[in-house]
């Protein structure tokens, strides 16, 4: 497998280039910063939550294509999910990259599976996980 097939496949590049969720949400219910000091990735994640449902998600900051693509996919996948569902997606995503588990995402968010190839590139796993770990921190604050 070449890097282009594994890591830099079209879905990932599209999500990296997408500007749709690359914005601040003014008055977001939750927001937090996450950084990988060793590679300079530095993101801020915003969530709007109404009645325990994610109504909007966005991110801002700098990061490599894997990190930004992962952040965009995260934002896409959370729309209209309950925080409980968000937790489940997070768990699946981390399991896919860290424990080699086969993910079982709902059809409409199956683009997340595009990130699976990252697991073959140990140093990039933390790029892909940065937005998700930041999400984890945010959700831990919601009970």
């Amino acid at each position: 497998m070449s890097l282009e097939d594994d890591l830099y496949q079209e879905i990932i590049l599209e999500n990296y280039r997408s500007k749709k969720n690359r914005r601040k949400i003014e008055g977001a219910s939750l927001h937090a910063e996450g950084a990988n000091p060793s590679c300079g990735d530095d993101l801020e994640l915003f969530l709007s939550i109404e009645d325990d449902v994610v109504t909007d998600a966005s991110y801002e900051g700098v990061g490599c294509s894997i990190c930004c693509a992962s952040a965009n996919l995260l934002c896409e996948s959370l729309h209209d999910r309950s925080t409980q569902e968000a937790r489940e997606i997070l768990k699946q995503f981390k399991g896919m990259l860290l424990d080699d588990l086969e993910p079982d995402f709902a059809d409409e968010i199956s683009d997340l599976e595009a990130m699976q190839g990252v697991k073959n590139y140990p140093v990039r796993i933390k790029c892909a996980l940065l937005p998700w770990n930041t999400l984890g921190g945010l959700l831990d604050g919601v009970q």
């Binding site: 950084a35 000091p37 060793s38 590679c39 140990p122 140093v123």
Partner: protein, 419 residues
């Protein structure tokens, strides 16, 4: 941690020939004689696997760790981090403790002396240690006490170099904030009852540092059951390379401490006037580390684990017993350390009549026998013994009774010169 926990039936006997064949130094001769290496207290010999691990790094990776986006740098980072896990497993460190790589035991103790003692101690606070310590576990505390106004106190020592543990409650008081004690004297091999000392410290809520430089390389260790806050030791004394050591620390203590060494790789954000720091343990590893050394330390831990620490400890106990027995044949020998061998690791210190240790060592050298002579970085203990130095024979897994025989035979040469 006491030997009483060894079950002799459990202990596998070492296959000495097989082991010795793995140490290139043991294939050498010294002064034309069979090489009897009895200076393991100073540093150990290295097995092929450790030498190969260093070489592997330089010939197959050679890259710096962290932030490398290319194959060899990634691989070096993985192998570096694996050693941290290996060392943690080796000493039974659970997730509530961290492994910090240092240059050696000495630097590890200084990290605590600066980041903990100098940060938190003041006049009225007390730091308890002993007179049997290696200078590395004494001088940093002297200076830290001087700098902070804290007081250094000592667990009293017996004339044989053992500690008066009955006095523990007098010395360790509510003013005690740190107890720093060796797990094994590098002069006599004496191993204090750490469980008792640590219990006394816990009762006063003092933090405990154990100097494991001599102990960890020779005995099974479990920091959880020991319940110390810090354990320090050196790679070079445990079949590993020079220039690398370990500071084990409980996370809750390490979290509060300031780093000693500031620089790259331990920061998150650096602005002109200030910086923020990485989480532990990275915060304590500023600068490019001894990458080859750390990777080779991993190989040393693998080697020791495979041989088995129980078996190593038992083997050395046998050697010490044999040494003591053979020493009885030589009237001129003055020996040091407690008579109770069950409280001692594989170290035997002596003098031959009033022959200066330096002369004794030089004559043993001629017989291919390598021993250490002098005050062994333990001058306060020398004062207890009323000598300026001793001759020290210290054993390791590859030593045999033949080495001890060579030493005893070498004493005849000393007799020949000095009568």
């Amino acid at each position: 941690m006491k030997q009483s926990t060894f079950d002799r039936q459990d202990s596998v006997t070492l296959d000495l020939d097989h082991l010795r064949a793995q140490f290139p130094m043991l294939q050498r001769r010294m002064r034309g004689k069979r090489f009897a290496y009895l200076d393991n207290g100073a540093t150990s010999l290295k097995p092929e696997s450790v030498i190969a691990a260093e070489q592997h790094y330089y010939t197959e990776l050679s890259a710096n760790i962290h932030r490398g986006v290319y194959e060899f740098s990634e691989q070096a980072t993985v192998e570096y981090d694996q050693t941290r896990e290996k060392v943690a497993r080796f000493i039974g460190a659970e997730s509530d403790g961290s492994i910090v790589f240092t240059k050696g035991t000495t630097e590890a103790i200084n990290v605590v002396a600066y980041g903990f003692v100098r940060k938190f101690f003041g006049p009225g606070d007390e730091l308890v240690t002993t007179e049997i310590e290696h200078h590395a576990n004494l001088v940093p505390w002297q200076e830290a006490c001087k700098a902070t106004g804290a007081t250094l106190r000592f667990i009293p020592v017996n004339p044989d170099g053992s500690l008066q543990l009955d006095a523990l409650e007098d010395v360790i008081t509510e003013r005690t904030k740190l107890v720093a004690v060796t797990a094994m004297s590098n002069v006599t091999g004496y191993m204090p009852d750490l469980a008792r000392i640590i219990a006394a410290a816990r009762a006063r809520e003092a933090v405990v540092l154990v100097d494991g430089a001599q102990y960890v390389s020779h005995h099974p260790v479990n920091v959880r059951s020991l319940d110390c806050d810090f354990l320090v030791f050196s790679g070079h004394k445990m079949c590993g390379p020079t220039g690398v050591g370990v500071l084990y620390a409980k996370n809750e203590v390490l979290e509060q401490m300031d780093p000693l060494i500031y620089g790259g790789d331990m920061v998150t954000k650096v602005r002109r006037d200030e910086a923020t720091y990485k989480p532990i343990p990275d915060r304590f590893e500023g600068g490019t580390p001894n990458i080859a050394g750390v990777i080779a330390l991993g190989a040393a831990v693998d080697f020791l684990s495979q041989v088995g620490m129980q078996a190593i400890a038992a083997h050395e106990r046998d050697l010490l017993a044999y040494m003591v027995e053979r020493a009885r044949e030589v009237d001129e020998l003055v020996t040091y350390g407690p008579d109770d061998l069950s409280s001692r690791g594989g170290i035997f210190s002596f003098n031959y009549a009033d022959v200066h240790p330096h002369d004794a060592g030089a004559l043993l050298d001629q017989e291919g026998v390598a021993v250490r002579t002098g005050f062994h970085c333990a001058q306060p203990l020398m004062q207890v013994f009323g000598v300026t130095g001793t001759v020290r024979a210290s054993f390791y897994l590859y030593n045999s009774t033949e080495d001890i025989d060579a030493l005893v035979n070498g004493l005849a040469r000393i007799k020949g010169v000095f009568g």
